[in-house]
Amino acid sequence: METESIIKSLKEKFSSDILGTEEKNQKRVIISIKPDVILNVASYLFRDAGFRFIIATAIHTKRGFEIHYHFSKDSDGLILNLHVTLDRDKPEIESLSNMFNASNWIEREMHELFGINFLHHPNQDKLISEGNWAEGVYPYRKDFKSITEE
């Protein structure tokens, strides 16, 4: 499937939920969507279009919490970044881990480091700092100050 036809079919299916598309080149595309359709869009990419989930990146910005879900279409060398912006005070989004296991760990990690809540996640326990980190303190948020910075 060519990049153009993938974007075209995404736009046809989710026209009102796509907030913006940025096509840097044939192999790098960023699509911003509304957070509440993440399950539908991810399901289309994974199940119908044959994408592989690489990883997700959470970013704490002035707009709130942003997540880039990186998907790869290996036959075309395409990386598609699904971009969502979450609420600043109550960041939460549906978990993708019931669809594929690849997102299980990274969602736990984002929950742990950014405090983003993944709804219906099978097991949102801490992944890396079990037992040695305070509850409710999220080190990757911009307002977190480490000892050396204080």
Partner: protein
């Protein structure tokens, strides 16, 4: 519900020498469930990276892993170059691919050795590591270091491989190939290895897709993904090679893929060396004034699979966000599928089958004098020794 016995492997893995805890829940000899605890050595490199300049980040990400120490700078360079919108010169591309492939050879040899060690077959361990040594010597000749080569920078490489060194590299490489033949023949035909690895730790194609597994772990299950082919970078589109796959998905298939990949790597290096001879010496960097705003997705095929770096730039001299995904992050999660139903003895080799990353950059023991308690070798002496060894290797190379 029947009672299960908990068998812990870790928190300090006795064979891999790495801090991680696997809890095997067993019923008799059979593993019924597995859980793991990680994060003993979390260094927060993503956060650290935000406080470093782009040039410094190369040295930081190089230290994520001692074995695939060039894969992370490789992917990071690809990401930043995507933001800037430049391509390195052909000479730099060839040098990058040579370093990347040499690393694959030494990493795969290391794995074959460790796999033998895990099976209690220490002859394989000794052989593989002995044959790996010339590759590390080659690294020291080219870059000055056995590991952490510090070769990459935005827009090119730091050091050239001068044309007069090429003959020596070819000579060592042909020796490595002869020894790889020996090792491959011995490993692939050995009935003990067959008995211990065939049908063990099978990972199905569907599991690979579900867990997003990459690299030899995916290729051994018939999923032919390789970033070098799918999303070509550096000199890989300029040379001929093929992606090695196997169908059975067991530990033997993983070994087979890795052993055969070494031949492809040797072939890639030979073609890159021929390419280097055609390029002008010294043209190894493209000058860059500043990193503009934007985001870059960089990836590189490490020995263990796809390394992914996402870099967000706000136009300053350090990344605003830097996300790193090492291949073991997705590969280790597949244990949930491959280990359950195995016996405990097979579980250890299955856990090693995905080649979880570990550091083995130790190269010298410091000996204490039993009588005086004095160190026989101090830090200065170590550095002097290291320098003299590099000079010695360079001299040896002149004679080849």
């Amino acid at each position: 519900m029947s009672r299960k016995t908990l068998i812990p492997i870790g928190p300090y893995h006795p064979l891999q020498e790495e801090p991680e805890l696997f809890k095997l829940y067993c019923d008799g000899e059979i593993v019924k469930d597995i859980q793991w605890v990680t994060g003993y050595n979390h260094r927060s490199i993503e956060k650290l990276s935000e406080s470093k300049t782009y040039e410094q980040v190369f040295f930081l990400v190089e230290r994520i892993c001692g074995i695939c120490s060039t894969s992370h700078p490789f992917a990071f360079a690809n990401a930043v170059e995507e933001i800037v919108g430049i391509e390195p010169t052909d000479r730099a591309k060839y040098i990058r691919s040579i370093i990347g492939e040499l690393e694959r050879i030494h990493s795969h040899l290391l794995w074959v050795g460790l796999a033998g060690h895990f099976l209690g077959y220490n002859t394989v361990f000794m052989w593989a590591w002995k044959y790996r040594e010339p590759v590390l010597d080659l690294f020291e000749m080219i870059t000055g270091n056995r590991n952490s080569y510090a070769m990459f920078k935005v827009g090119g490489v730091r050091r050239d491989i001068e044309n007069h060194k090429i003959a020596a590299i070819r000579k060592i490489l042909s020796d490595v190939k002869t020894k790889t033949d020996l090792l491959t023949g011995a490993v692939m035909d050995d009935p003990v290895i067959h008995a211990r690895t065939k049908g063990v730790g099978i990972l199905s194609k569907q599991d690979v897709i579900d867990y997003g597994a990459v690299g030899p772990t995916a290729r051994a299950s018939g999923v032919a993904i390789d970033v070098r082919k799918d999303d070509p970078y550096a000199a890989y589109p300029l040379v001929n090679w093929k992606v090695i796959t196997a169908e059975t998905g067991d530990v033997f298939a993983k070994a087979q893929v890795r052993l055969l990949e070494m031949y492809e790597s040797i072939s890639i290096i030979e073609q890159c060396l021929a390419g280097l001879e055609k390029e002008k010496e010294g043209e190894i960097t493209v000058k860059i004034n500043e990193i503009p705003e934007g985001m870059g997705n960089g990836r590189a095929e490490a020995p263990r699979g796809e390394v992914f770096h996402f870099v967000l730039s706000d136009g300053s001299n350090s990344p605003a966000r830097h996300k790193i995904r090492a291949p073991s992050y997705v590969n280790i999660a597949t244990f949930k599928k491959s280990c359950i139903g195995q016996t405990i003895a097979d579980a250890t080799i299955t856990l090693a089958g995905v080649d979880p990353c570990y550091c083995c950059t130790e190269r010298m023991a410091v000996v204490y004098d039993a009588k005086s308690g004095k160190k026989m070798m101090n830090a200065r002496e170590l550095i002097d020794r290291s320098i003299s060894r590099t000079l010695d290797l360079k001299e040896r190379m002149q004679k080849l």
